[in-house]
């Protein structure tokens, strides 16, 4: 029994953080290279999911554990940078895991007809206050 608990604890510690990278889904004619560059060059971001669709650009990010206290500031900074890169798109950047989760789900489903409706949903949820 004691061995089992130790095993569980160790495996929990080891599997803590191993996801990394940037996933981008693009249905527009915009160039995604500056987007990828912005996300990859930021040292605080460990996982990012981005979706470009018609007039919208939604980015969900997950920051490193010790940067979590500044995650709102980090998201704001990335938002500013992306607005400069894509002036004709409506940019939404959020460090909230709900945005990341929903955007990822949307891309994995691959149902591009429903994109607009879902994107509006995500945007309205992200704006909500307590």
């Amino acid at each position: 029994m004691k061995k089992l608990i130790y095993l569980l604890l160790v495996s929990l510690l080891l599997t803590g953080c191993n996801e990394k990278g940037t996933h981008i889904e693009n249905t527009t004619t915009h160039d995604t290279v500056p987007l990828e560059k912005t996300l990859d060059s930021n040292e605080h971001v460990k996982l990012a999911v981005a979706l470009l669709h018609e007039e919208d650009l939604i980015v969900g990010i997950r920051v490193n554990t010790f940067s979590r206290f500044q995650k709102k500031k980090i998201a704001k900074k990335i938002n500013k940078e992306l607005k400069k890169e894509y002036p004709d798109l409506e940019v939404t950047v959020s460090a909230d895991s709900k945005v990341l989760l929903e955007t990822d789900k949307l891309i994995k489903k691959g149902d591009s007809k429903n994109y607009q409706k879902k994107i509006d949903d995500i945007k309205s949820i992200a704006k909500e206050q307590t």
Partner: protein
């Protein structure tokens, strides 16, 4: 002189408080309660339309509901005896304080018994919570007005 003697005697005779053991127990129990709360928050984020920001309200409500059930079945008492402050500092301890005094005074009637005694212990928590929130909000409002910080 007599009083001093008694204090000395009492100190010598009473068993030593195992502070380190109590602290570790409180840490583990409190951490476990918060872990459960984190899982509930994750559940609300994943399956409902809550963000990290808005999931805290239903999570707190659920935790209080769980502690209410545990208090009613007499299980929270055991957790408190083991965990000490670790079980009474999180929101579940607050729920326990309200529900246990409501159960205790039920025999005195619903209005003067339950209604009058329910917030005996929790009342001070609410009073000082509201008061300190008011003070903090006041300070922040003044700072924002003078442009030192932004919302």
């Amino acid at each position: 002189m007599e009083q001093e003697k008694y204090a000395h005697l009492e100190k010598e005779l009473s068993p030593k408080t195992p502070i380190l053991k109590n602290v570790i127990k409180a840490f583990l129990v409190g951490g476990l309660i918060c872990l459960i709360g984190q899982f509930i928050a994750l559940f609300y984020i994943t399956y409902f339309d809550f963000t990290e920001r808005t999931a805290s309200n239903p999570t707190v409500a659920t935790m209080i509901f769980i502690s209410m059930l545990l208090t009613g079945f007499g299980l929270y008492k055991k957790i408190s005896q083991f965990g000490g402050a670790g079980a009474s500092v999180p929101i579940t301890g607050f729920g326990n304080a309200v529900v246990s005094s409501a159960i205790e005074h039920k025999s005195e009637g619903y209005v003067l018994g339950v209604g009058g005694n329910m917030f005996k212990l929790a009342g001070s928590v609410i009073l000082f919570g509201v008061f300190s929130a008011f003070i903090v909000a006041l300070i922040k409002t003044i700072l924002v007005k003078f442009g030192v910080v932004s919302w």
